[in-house]
């Protein structure tokens, strides 16, 4: 059968991308109706456990190559400055220093300068040094002795807005007649809310190792998108794609921030070329927090009106987003357009420029903070209308995507509300409200929306040899989310082998065809159909060979528990009875991801309910319990899925309670670019979590799988904010809800 070239749409973090995709015929039967066939849906341990728990997993910063140099970046200490002097010669004269790059060298792979003599934010790369070891490196950096002329800077969002200096044109979305809708409202609320800059702080900082062999470049890099890095490096160094190999076997988290080669990747490659030695660049925690992205802070203004029965009549929203030096503007007002049914909506986004590094996508970028803002307003509205907050949400359920008019492929949000309410004891929430004593409790809810439909291109190859153990090669990387294990589960089902018998090769551009960027909750929804198709092709061949071997019709044979069995139960032979005859031959199968059906919107949904306790003496907020019910299609690995939910909730708790970059107004530099003063949750901040899924496979998607990376972080902070408002009887308009803000709200 010949492949076809089809045009399809994929939604990545709110960006609709039109792509041409090569699609192969896929004769893989869909899963049967009803419960997923095992091991799909059965809790499976991670295949990476041994490597990650013995220290044998090699992360990028563990790569040690013969002759490898250490390199580091000199960064501007000023928010805005001009470099007036730098002593490259002195640095080059330091024993052990092998290369020095300053702005004068014009290092601009791909046409954009990596080093600048006009640093416009604290942490901007100014120079780079490569040296034999860390001591020589430190001496080389010190010898550069840069001098700067300081320039005025803009740090605050308000000041940036006042200057009307935008990183992209302000946008205004409008549907219906918001002004008329607001006039006909029986009740309306108006809120201003401030969301902090949340730092990713992946435990593994951004890092890269580069080595050249002739004009071939191999780069080990901690990345969520090895093929994107391959293309970026090929373009930067003017190489054929196949001359660039990118490897990311194990990585220590990304959360959206590892989406580009970055200064570290470009400099590693550039310095390695100059020195003809492998070069390693590992960012410090401080650099990580100054120049590797963050969730863009936002100031929301929301006005929401409703009829007396709760029907929304208008939403009028604006978001001023602190974009630092610029970049992709996150869809912070997408939730305002899509979470609830409302005919009249205005949503204005103003991305302002500051003398701060650029934001990058951070788990549900825009949407998480946008939902936080919207859900605060919806709860205020519920109070104004005297309607139960969850009931108000039910009454404004959106049946389809209102911006495009398309139906959802699958939506079970109402079931999420019902189940979450039951699990949380929502009906009794008012009885939590305390007696006015020291500890006050509250319960709040929030809805979740995100995309996560996946799409092409994604390729997988499966093979099986004489040992009867399937090998899967996939063009993706595993951030730590567990997609490798999930792929093994998908393949194991088709091949009738234990999950742990499937070996998965990933994290290397040479291994397999293109795979998805690990972001936007795209990975598994993209990979699963390709893996299933590849494994199915192997299965068909195995059954055909077994038919020859045992003289039973292939249709009467099946693969189960590592055995070839006849449907009538008379034959039970190990798989190796067939594969053992292969000698050094392989049975191979390939699979690719086809496009999603057109004319539909694919989204994920859910509801979380948080219960908090506030200590009115210390101002400390404790999240005691979170109930999370999400509708993300078919669940492949319940254990891994639960872990994703736990992770999202904890990062949501961080946003809500402790995480906040603080930029000094006097100098424009961050005063908490480390984990002492930038506080992420600890094990002591872990709440009880009750997690369930509406395990309904998406009927419109191949394999019925949607993404789960982003969804769990989306509603957490909003639910906590609403719970806190119930507990205190007053709403906090700025996150995180630190002891200071709580005590100030209490009249401290």
């Amino acid at each position: 059968m010949s492949p076809r070239l089809v045009k399809s749409e994929a939604v990545v973090e709110g960006r609709t991308e039109e792509r041409w995709s090569l699609v192969e015929d896929d004769h893989t039967p869909e899963y049967p109706d009803g419960p997923s066939p095992a091991p799909i849906g059965v809790a499976a341990q991670r295949l990476t456990a041994h490597a990650r728990l013995t220290g044998s997993a090699r992360y990028t910063s563990d790569i040690q190559l013969p002759g490898m140099l250490q390199a580091a970046i000199l960064r501007s200490p000023f928010a805005n400055a001009r470099l007036t002097a730098i002593d490259a010669a002195a640095a080059r004269a330091v024993p052990g220093v092998r290369a020095v790059l300053t702005p004068a060298d014009g290092f601009a792979p791909g046409g954009s300068a990596v080093l600048t003599d006009a640093p416009a934010y604290a942490g901007a790369p100014v120079a780079a040094v490569a040296a034999d070891d860390r001591d020589a490196l430190a001496a080389g950096l010190a010898a550069l002795a840069p001098e700067y002329e300081e320039l005025p800077f803009v740090a605050g969002i308000d000041e940036a807005l006042g200057r009307q200096d935008f990183t992209a044109d302000p946008s205004e979305y409008e549907r219906g007649d918001p002004d008329a809708g607001m006039r006909e409202a029986a009740a309306s609320v108006s809120l201003e809310l401030r969301a902090p800059a949340q730092m990713h702080n992946c435990m593994e900082s951004h890092c890269a190792v580069a080595a050249w062999q002739g004009d071939e470049l191999t780069t080990w890099i901690s990345t969520q998108g090895m093929f994107a890095i391959q293309a970026e490096l090929a373009d930067a160094f003017d190489l054929d794609l196949e001359r660039v190999r990118v490897i990311c076997e194990y990585m220590g988290g990304g959360f959206g921030s590892k989406d580009q080669a970055g200064a570290e990747g470009l400099l590693a490659a550039g310095l390695a070329r100059i020195t003809s030695r492998p070069v390693s660049v590992v960012l410090s925690r401080r650099e990580e927090n100054l120049d590797a992205g963050y969730r863009a802070p936002a100031q929301f203004t929301l006005e929401v009106g409703a009829a007396a029965d709760g029907t929304l009549t208008a939403i009028d929203a604006s978001a001023v987003i602190g974009m630092g030096r610029g970049g992709w503007t996150p869809p912070a007002l997408e939730p305002v357009k899509s979470v609830y049914r409302c005919a009249n909506v205005r949503a204005a986004v103003l991305p302002v420029r500051q003398n701060i590094g650029s934001p990058r996508a951070f788990r549900a970028p825009g949407v998480m903070e946008g939902v936080w803002a919207l859900e605060n307003a919806i709860d205020e509205l519920a109070a104004a209308l005297d309607i139960d907050p969850l009931e108000l949400r039910r009454r404004n359920h959106a049946d389809g995507d209102q911006a495009t008019g398309r139906p959802y492929s699958s939506k079970n949000l109402l079931a999420c509300y019902d189940r979450a309410a039951e699990l949380a004891g929502w009906a009794d929430r008012d009885s939590l409200k305390a007696d006015g004593g020291r500890i006050r409790r509250g319960m709040g809810c929030a809805s979740q929306i995100w995309w996560g439909g996946g799409g092409p291109p994604a390729y997988a190859e499966a093979r099986i040899g004489k040992d009867g153990r399937p090998v899967l090669s996939v063009g993706m990387q595993d951030l730590g989310t567990g997609t490798i294990t999930a792929c093994a589960i998908i393949a194991a089902e088709r091949l009738g082998v234990p999950v742990e018998d499937v070996r998965v090769h990933a994290g290397d551009t040479r291994l397999a065809g293109h795979g998805p960027f690990s972001g936007g909750s795209m990975t598994l929804a993209s990979m699963a159909p390709a893996v299933r198709a590849a494994a199915h092709e192997v299965r068909e061949q195995l059954l055909a060979l077994a038919s020859d071997r045992f003289e039973i019709a292939a249709g009467d044979l099946t693969l189960e528990e590592g055995e070839i069995r006849s449907v009538d139960g008379t034959l039970r032979e190990p798989l190796t009875e067939v594969t053992g005859k292969l000698a050094n031959a392989w049975i191979r199968g390939g699979g690719s991801r086809g496009p999603n059906p057109s004319g539909i919107a694919v989204n994920t949904f859910g509801c979380q309910i948080a219960q908090v306790a506030v200590d009115t003496v210390t101002g400390m907020v404790t999240v005691e319990r979170v109930v999370a019910v999400h509708d993300v299609g078919r669940i492949v690995n319940p254990m891994g899925a639960r872990s994703q939910v736990m992770g999202g909730i904890l990062q949501g708790i961080g946003f809500a309670l402790t995480e906040e970059r603080v930029v000094d107004p006097t100098t424009g530099t961050s005063v908490n670019p480390g984990l002492e003063d930038y506080k992420v949750p600890t094990i002591a901040d872990l709440p009880e979590v009750v997690c369930e899924f509406v395990n309904v496979p998406d009927p419109r998607l191949p394999t019925g799988v949607r993404g789960l990376g982003e969804p769990p972080i989306v509603p957490t902070a909003g639910a906590i904010g609403n719970a806190l408002a119930q507990a205190l009887g007053v709403r906090l308009h700025e996150a995180p809800y630190t002891p200071r803000r709580v005590l100030e709200a209490l009249g401290g």
Partner: protein
């Protein structure tokens, strides 16, 4: 300077600069890269190793100061650590795995000091090990499980 140190029951004599850290000694001199440096300033716990029975931060421990000491790292093969590995696997007590060597070392030191800690003791002992993926529930359960198996 010359440092004599026992690492995972193996004796080493290593020559290191006096300002070097134990983390650098382990990773750069002995090639034991299982120990991870995630912050380098004593705030995250990723580099935790067990030094003479104490969980310590190898990024803030001078290599020179461990002369004569016994160090255990994630590469150790002791039965208790193996039991912890099994428990972490069973409870999904890790995701990306970068903080995990430190988590295992804090757990190991705890269980060696107190074979049957209560939940509050476990949370207190593990609270210096940050996990950005948020695997804390599995981590807590894993330590409880390993403690149960020990007791």
């Amino acid at each position: 300077m010359s440092v004599r140190v026992e690492v995972n029951s193996q004796e080493h004599v290593v020559d290191v600069p006096e300002e070097w850290t134990l983390a650098a000694l382990l990773r750069d001199r002995l090639g034991l890269t299982g120990t991870k440096v995630a912050c380098g300033e004593g705030t995250c716990g990723s580099c935790t190793v067990v030094l003479d029975g104490r969980p310590v931060l190898s990024c803030l421990t001078l290599a020179a100061a461990v002369d004569g000491a016994a160090v255990r790292t994630v590469e150790d093969g002791s039965p208790l650590l193996e039991r912890l590995r099994e428990a972490f696997t069973e409870t999904d007590g890790f995701q990306c795995g970068f903080c995990t060597p430190g988590q295992l070392m804090s757990a190991l030191a705890l269980l060696e000091r107190d074979p049957s800690p209560g939940r509050a003791e476990i949370i207190a002992a593990m609270s210096g090990n940050l996990c950005r993926c948020g695997a804390y529930e599995g981590i807590r359960q894993a330590v409880e499980r390993a403690a149960g198996a020990t007791a």
